[in-house]
Symmetry: C2
Subunit: 567 residues, 2 copies
């Protein structure tokens, strides 16, 4: 017996050790939020950003031949210095992301790299950290046929997800499984920062001290695998240097081009960077300059990483918004699981869409979940105003006249005493918003309580920093009604579910999986509505929703400034 207890203790210790290793070694801040509430110090958003950026700067992207020996590949690259991390993935071909321990290794590699001679074609001789590896003698390696383990960065199919959810042990387990399947992986995050870093190299050619920062879903911990990569060119550091060093009666300034406004400066900078991406940027395709939008941007596809990218210039409020979401996501492990599930539910029922229109956005849904969690008793999440009261002098942040101050040290915020299960929270969420007085009340995470709507939009969710703006101004009454109907239906399904959960082996959808099915009740009710609204009506709605998305009507609907092309 003593022996058995001893073995058991060793087993527990070992499992705990593995668990800690996963949390610590992976270096992925998100991993630590899943499952158990670990009390290891959490990093500040800015620390994570800085660390990731520094990692990315000593990382290279290599397009590899399909048949390659991983061992020989690593040996070859190690000539330039030790490698701290690497992984492979498949996109249009096989790619490797190789992170060196030192930045100098990248330069060393670049020094032995040649510009390809193209034969009949011609090459734009641009030197980046994106390489193309070739075999001098392809046959010598094919014999090995070692299959290289590739990291995945696309979300599971509906079918696969449904299976995974059916085999889960509880609704809580279902929500956590969904989060685990959809959240960005460590590799995907590395690739996102690397992509920004490669674009930064291009921009830094002209703007020496610039930074290209990812923002939005790539960094706010709510991003889903495959989501767009939003980045902005931060030129703020440039003007700040050495203004005090001048001596004597002279003042030396750089001769620069002057333009009538910041907006025109932004447009010109993005225009030239767009040209560079288009003509020189390795792997950058489909470059679109959308310079007349409220927030001018360059949209392009980074082919090798597979990311659809939006590049804007100084977008500090959006970055602050990302930081706030990151904070809320990190404060309680239930937040991200609930948000991912609600978003997945909304997408399954076409409440959200990848094209702009009168649909509810993921950002609005996230705000609704945060608001809901602030309304629990005891609250699971603190209000933004409370986070502001905790802020110290260093946290102070005013951007374009907006007070964006809140405490940034996660470790100084007391965890919630609320112990509700995810299952209960999911059901309560649907009930809460199924009965919310949208017609008179506004959702407001700053104060964490309903406010009277200051304007007549069907759905009013206050922008947390630009408080006069409604982030869901684009949502029309029929979309809101659809949301309410589906929320009520889902609440009902979950209450029914309690009574007749199928046996685990039956392979029948249940719990969350049931909610993601094309809804029975709602499909009937929607079918009824469809009979009432003919196709022409639906097309009219679509046109209206597109019209209402013209730039003049554009408000901040997803935490970054939204974008639309002008005809």
């Amino acid at each position: 017996v003593v022996y058995k207890i001893f073995i058991y203790l060793i087993k527990i210790c070992f499992e705990f050790y593995i668990c800690v290793c996963v949390c610590v070694c992976a270096g992925n801040v998100f991993v630590s939020f899943i499952g158990s509430e670990d009390r290891t110090p959490k990093k500040k958003f800015s620390e994570v950003q800085k660390e990731r950026r520094e990692q990315a700067q000593r990382t290279v992207l290599i397009h590899c031949p399909n048949k390659i020996s991983e061992k020989k590949f690593l040996k070859y690259l190690s000539q330039h210095g030790p490698i701290s991390h690497h992984f492979f993935y498949e996109s249009f071909g096989l790619y490797a992301v190789v992170e060196f321990c030192q930045k100098e290794s990248v330069t060393s590699l670049q020094n032995v790299t040649r510009t390809p001679s193209m034969g009949t074609e011609a090459a734009i001789p641009f030197k980046s950290r994106f390489f193309n590896l070739k075999l001098k003698n392809p046959s010598s390696q094919t014999s090995e046929k070692s299959s290289i383990p590739c990291s995945n960065h696309s979300p599971p199919s509906s079918k696969k997800l449904s299976e995974l959810l059916c085999y889960a042990e509880s609704v809580d387990d279902q929500l956590n499984t969904l989060l685990k399947e959809f959240q960005l992986t460590e590799e995907d995050i590395k690739l996102r920062y690397l992509t920004c870093s490669l674009i930064e190299d291009l921009a830094a050619a002209y703007f020496q001290d610039c930074t290209v920062r990812p923002f939005g879903s790539s960094v706010n911990s709510f991003g889903k695998l495959g989501c767009d990569l939003d980045m902005f060119l931060d030129l703020d550091e440039i003007g700040k240097l050495n203004t005090s060093k001048t001596s004597g009666n002279f003042l030396m300034e750089f001769q620069v081009k002057n333009v009538p406004s910041e907006r025109i400066a932004t447009q010109k900078i993005l225009s030239v960077i767009g040209e560079c991406l288009d003509h020189f940027g390795p792997g950058c395709v489909g470059v679109q300059k959308i310079l007349n939008a409220r927030c001018p941007l360059v949209r392009f596809s980074h082919q090798a990483s597979g990311f659809q990218c939006d590049l804007t210039t100084n977008n500090r409020i959006a970055l602050k918004s990302s930081e706030l979401l990151y904070m809320y996501g990190a404060l309680d492990s239930r937040v991200r699981a609930l948000v991912f599930s609600i978003r997945c539910w909304a997408r399954a029922h076409s409440l959200t869409s990848s094209i702009p229109g009168s649909w509810i956005t993921n950002f609005s849904l996230t705000m609704m979940v945060i608001f809901f969690l602030q309304r629990r008793s005891p609250p699971i999440l603190p209000t933004l105003d409370y986070l502001k009261t905790l802020a110290d002098a260093e946290d102070k942040c005013i951007i374009e006249g907006h007070n964006c101050t809140f405490i940034r040290d996660l470790n100084r915020i007391k965890p919630s005493g609320n112990t509700e299960t995810l299952e209960s929270l999911l059901k309560e969420f649907f009930e809460y918003f199924g009965n919310f007085a949208f017609n008179k009340n506004s959702i407001n995470i700053r104060q964490g309580r309903e406010q009277n709507k200051p304007e007549c939009s069907p759905l009013h969710i206050q922008n947390p920093f630009e408080t006069s703006l409604n982030i869901s101004k684009n949502v029309n009454q029929s979309q809101l009604q659809k949301f309410v109907d589906l929320a009520r239906e889902s609440a009902w399904i979950l209450s029914q579910e309690d009574k007749d959960r199928p046996s685990p082996s039956s392979n029948q959808p249940w719990g969350l999986a049931m909610l993601l099915q094309p809804s029975v009740v709602s499909s009937v009710s929607l079918a009824k509505k469809k009979r009432r609204k003919p196709a022409s009506e639906r097309i009219k709605n679509l046109l209206e929703s597109i019209k209402s998305h013209s730039p003049e009507n554009d408000t901040d609907t997803n935490g970054k400034r939204t974008v639309s092309t002008q005809a």
Copy 2:
């Protein structure tokens, strides 16, 4: 008496010393060609280019307040390191060119320089070597009112030139005076290399090992003050690096954009650089992309230096052509004096023009003078074929299949034994071409003798390197006839002149000055022709000459590939 002789000897020695100082100190290779035939070793073209480029890289351009104390200005800049050379000039305001002894001084200056804050306007925060100096307290310096000596870089007016020529002592003196007044000054040359270097900085942002090289009149020693600045982006060094260093079975290449042809690559590169110049390039205005021309180019005005610039990509034959002219210009002091005078004469009679058309080009005139000097007995200049026979292995140069080999060490070419005066050469030039059988013969500096014309263009001058091309294909019969008529008339005037030269004090134009006057004989004969040809006829001619300049008909007419826009 002994004392007087002693003083006299000291005086002679001192004058000789001054003379040597001027030749050596000015560091201007051109100075040494004027006047006496000095036998100090002459630099190779490539050596001059390299030295000038290196100087330019440690030079900065500073826009200064109008009232500035030169002494304080230099003291302020010396904080960053010793200054080897500086000068001021006026353009749109007062500018200073400051050449530091070390390149590091430029970086030091940049480190204390700030990006201007614009108030209502916005700045594109680009950091170059072009600065704007401001006074913190303007009143403190205005009191000094020290007028800063400014270097001049525009040619004399016709009136001024006429005066200078009238006061000359001989026709030889007149030709040398004209050369001295029109040739590029040391300062102008420095400014040209600096401008190229500033553009290189912009291009090097993307193409690390690129060089922007001036070519044509700025470097061939035949450039006139105020002439355009031709430059090309040399990317040849980029592909050449480290191709042999790869080890093992792997070959690493930069991932680059591929395009179907070199031409498209050139267009894309120039297009982006054009955008950069337009949007970021301090002082670059009026940027035109002329990408569909035979030799795609970006034309722009560098406002601060006042240069009209043409930027092309790899244009090595044109650079070789510049080197050849530089050689011919340096071989005998009479060459440049004669070429400048003939060009000035042609311009005075509208035989040449600054706009493209059927006019004779300066390059064609230069070739005619070189050819003429090769035909003297004994020859003043060697043939290109002879320069080729003198070449050693290092001189070998094949560009795009054309043999451009010739000896590059000037000191290995024996000077001519011909002692004809410039006056005599000028007269003989007009007589020679007044009676040249243009209808059947071709001008050919490679062989230095008339050849049968291989095609029917009125004027045929063989391109020295691309020997199947006619550099004066654009010249029509009427322009050629006008040249012949004026040459004959000028020969006649010069022969008359011998008999009745006015007294030096009479202020009457004589010699070369007489030739630059609106011609008496020719104006009569031209007036006659004008009566025969009405305005409509002349307009027709103009249109034809413009038409004949469309890209398909473009041949090499001025030693660089000519350029024209497509509609």
